[in-house]
């Protein structure tokens, strides 16, 4: 180990996926004993960089040094052996196993017979947890613990495998404020023991509260690194979304006028609704208005959308449609009540093996046929949508799986357009689309709004909400924390609220 060398040093890192540049010329240093925050929008390059560090991506340009020595990971395993551990947003604990077994997963001590040394394992797990100040019985199954505690145990596991660098991806997104405090206490102890932490988060308050230094990413470039006491939230946001003309083609940097319609009749109302992933959400969707619900990953807006379509049950609160109470026991009840839903993943909406026309007709089958199916009618309806939405190739017979992603998304939308719903809930409607396809979605949603439908657009991408919504709710940790109605909104104000 060279004296004075940073714990981790990256020079000139570039990485592209099939011609699309994900990272270009990134120089990044991580000192021993620091908590280093990484911020940036989705697709800014921070996860790609972390996957390079953790050995997930092994082909890239540039060089990497750990404690002054050049390294080149061949796999995630060799990165782990070099002392790099990663805790993903989706925890990888085994819920049925005990805390001790999870902590020692893959490194269980064995006795002379090659069997698991249970007393030894308990002893070591107990010692490690005590050292980190995690107050939990190592014998209980980890699945019975709250999520925040599971996360602490997972961090303990990464440390037990000898990690000197721990990468945390969105560690606070699912935690309550007291749990966040416990996590921060643990992270400070880890730092004070000389190990380093990379803290990736959308929660700027959290990043500012725990990190020693913060690095901002934008469009695959490292924009700036600064020590925390010197900077604040607006400093970060400016660097995340960029200022000046280079971002103009993306729009949404300036003030956007909201075309809210406070006088329009309320179609769908939600009163103090709680369910898996969200709690005490109240909202009103109005006829002819697009209500955007923005929140970062895990903020609960996607869960809320599923509940509004009857996919998951509410545990509390009330729904009403046109002023009448609404109980959604199933998705078919929601559909019959006039609620339509397009989920964020196309695969969970479409039938890849079936022709286009059957994909379009499935949700209106009970309107066009009682007992017998009428394929001729289905094809004619589908043909109309294929032409109106510009679906390529324009054949209703083609197996859906052979269409491109953007065209599949249009088919997913088309199934709700024959008999217009009262409420249309769109979850991540423009995810993974190119600019042209996004504009078409905007056009379609506007057209639906003009016909008096109450549209809800739910997304983790601020651009999606800004380009579509007339009124915006911001969700954070399962609750609505701010509303933008009337007047104007800008992307930095939206990000600041989340």
């Amino acid at each position: 180990m060279q004296r004075g060398a940073p714990l981790l040093e990256l020079r000139g890192i570039s990485k592209s996926f099939g011609g699309v540049t994900a990272l270009s010329g990134v120089d990044f240093t991580l000192e021993a004993g620091e908590i280093h925050g990484l911020v940036g929008e989705n697709g800014a390059g921070k996860s790609t960089l972390m996957k390079i560090i953790a050995g997930v991506h092994t082909s890239f340009e540039g060089e990497m040094r750990i404690a002054g020595e050049a390294v080149r990971h061949r796999s995630a395993r060799s990165a782990r052996d070099a002392g790099i551990g990663m805790v993903h947003q989706e925890l990888s604990v085994v819920p049925e196993l005990s805390v001790a077994e999870n902590v020692m997963l893959g490194v269980q001590p064995v006795n002379r017979l090659g069997l698991v040394d249970w007393p030894g394992m308990m002893r070591r797990a107990r010692a490690l947890l005590a050292e980190l100040g995690i107050n939990v019985d190592p014998r209980v199954p980890i699945g019975s613990l709250p999520l925040g505690m599971q996360q602490l145990v997972e961090i303990a596991r990464v440390l037990s495998s000898g990690a000197r660098i721990v990468i945390l991806d969105e560690p606070t997104s699912a935690l309550s404020p007291p749990e966040v405090e416990v996590l921060f206490g643990l992270l400070r102890r880890v730092r004070d023991s000389g190990r380093s932490i990379v803290f990736i988060s959308h929660f700027l308050e959290d990043v500012l509260a725990i990190c020693d230094r913060i690095t901002c990413f934008r469009n695959g470039r490292l924009i700036e690194t600064a020590p925390v006491p010197a900077i604040d939230k607006s400093w970060i946001i400016t660097r995340m979304i960029g200022a000046g003309h280079e971002e103009l083609e993306q729009g949404y940097t300036g003030e956007i006028r909201l075309d809210s319609k406070p006088g329009a009749p309320v179609v769908l109302a939600c009163e103090a609704a709680s369910g898996p992933g969200f709690r005490e959400v109240s909202l009103e969707a109005r006829a002819g208005e697009v209500l955007g619900i923005y929140g970062s990953m895990g903020a609960g807006q996607l869960d809320l959308a599923r509940a509004l379509f009857g996919r998951t049950a509410l545990s509390g609160g009330r729904l009403s449609l046109d002023g009448r109470p609404l109980a959604l026991r199933s998705t078919s009840a929601a559909r019959k009540a006039g609620i339509a839903f397009v989920p964020e993943s196309r695969r969970s909406m479409l039938f890849a093996q079936e022709p286009v026309y059957r994909n379009v007709s499935i949700s209106i089958l009970d309107r066009i046929s009682r007992l017998w199916v009428k394929p001729a009618v289905e094809r004619e309806i589908a043909q109309r949508h294929v032409e109106a939405l510009g679906i390529r190739p324009p054949s209703v017979h083609r197996r859906l799986g052979t269409l491109s992603g953007g065209n599949q998304q249009k088919v997913a939308l088309a199934k709700w357009l024959t008999h217009l719903p009262r409420v249309l809930v769109l979850s991540e409607p423009t995810r993974g689309m190119d600019v042209g396809a996004k504009e078409e979605v905007v056009r379609i949603v506007r057209a639906l709004r003009e016909q008096g439908i109450a549209v809800l657009v739910v997304s983790t991408e601020p651009e999606t909400v800004l380009s579509l919504a007339d009124r915006i709710l911001v969700m954070k940790r399962g609750q609505v924390c701010e509303e933008f109605a009337g007047g104007t909104v800008s992307k930095d104000r939206l990000l600041a609220a989340a």
Partner: protein
């Protein structure tokens, strides 16, 4: 029209289409090869009499397999079909006047009442399975395993080790009578197969069955009442088994415990050998018919060529294994095509 027709085919053209159709072509080719083999090996195989034999031999399996096709198309399974058939067959005998020699504490009722009660019995057994799977959420594999045991229990309780012989006259006729040269049971099997085909191919419910099997989550997100569809197919399966059980008892000439034991494997084999996907959403009654004929020809043909009867059992197992391999491969090829 020619442009849209050609658009149906994937880019790879003919080969891609063949790959997509493998699950339909393979069973049919198997059938042709078996028929050719047995025709050469035995002069008594390819006779009109023997064709009638094969048809009669697969009739009971056919009626059970129709219901099972619905269940498997939904990517579920029903292991209770043979047991339910046995139980319902015994029920109809239980409600019929038996000879003095039969020592069963039965409840003789008029024929139509006995038939009605037995049908209601099959409906009730199907409803219990449907409740367990859709409302409680027990996987169908386990739920129908329990129902298999329950059906066996009902059989045991009703006949208590005895054998009953009499069934109501209409059942007697349909199970063992003939209309001219054609056995009634073959007519019933053909009708049930035809009805199953019409329901699956031309009705809204049939479409829902395919969609639920093809992508259950997408069906849910399209506002299809998935649980209702699953409940319906499980009840259809039980009722088909019930009909097969009643006719089967008349066909065999007796109602007793364990007399349908072979039919579970036969019915599943027929559906799967025919090429209906175990992953749901692909296949249909047409496939089941081919599967039934493959099994019927195989069982019957092996008798004609005087093969070691113990080897026969092994051969059936191997054929089933082969069909499963083709089934899984067909799924993979279709996903690629």
């Amino acid at each position: 029209m020619s442009t849209s027709d050609s658009a149906v085919l994937p880019r790879s053209g003919g080969m891609g289409w063949l790959k997509g159709q493998l699950r339909n072509i393979a069973p049919f080719a198997t059938l042709l090869v078996l028929v050719a083999l047995f025709s050469i090996a035995s002069p008594s195989f390819a006779t009109l009499d023997n064709v009638a034999n094969i048809a009669r031999q697969v009739s009971v399996t056919a009626i059970i397999a129709v219901g099972l096709t619905f269940v498997i198309l939904c990517a579920e399974i029903d292991l209770s079909v043979a047991s339910v058939a046995n139980a319902v067959g015994i029920m109809v005998a239980f409600f019929t006047l038996q000879d003095e020699s039969v020592n069963i504490a039965n409840i003789p009722l008029p024929g139509f009442a006995a038939i009605l009660l037995a049908l209601l019995g099959s409906l009730a057994l199907g409803a219990v399975t449907a409740f367990g799977v859709t409302v409680i959420g027990i996987p169908s594999f386990i739920m129908t395993l329990a129902m298999l045991q329950i059906g066996a229990g009902i059989c045991a309780m009703l006949v208590r080790g005895q054998i009953a012989y009499n069934v109501p006259a209409p059942i007697e006729m349909l199970g063992s009578g003939s209309i001219g040269p054609v056995p009634w049971i073959v007519v019933v099997a053909v009708l049930v197969l035809a009805l199953g085909h019409v329901v699956l191919s031309y009705t809204r419910f049939g479409r829902y069955v395919y969609m639920v099997g093809g992508n259950r989550e997408a069906a849910e997100y399209s506002g299809v009442n998935v649980k209702l569809v699953l409940a319906a197919v499980l009840i259809i399966s039980a009722v088909c088994s019930g009909i097969a059980g009643m006719l089967g008892v008349a066909h065999f000439g007796s109602a007793q415990q364990d007399e349908f034991d072979n039919y579970l494997l036969d019915a599943i084999s027929a559906v799967v050998v025919g090429g209906t996907s175990l992953f749901g959403g692909q296949g249909g009654i047409g496939n089941t018919v081919v599967g039934l004929l493959v099994l019927g020809v195989l069982n019957n043909g092996l008798d004609h060529v005087r093969i070691d009867s113990f080897l026969k059992i092994l051969i059936r197992g191997l054929i089933l294994l082969l069909a499963l391999v083709i089934n899984v491969y067909a799924q993979r090829l279709r996903a690629q095509a």
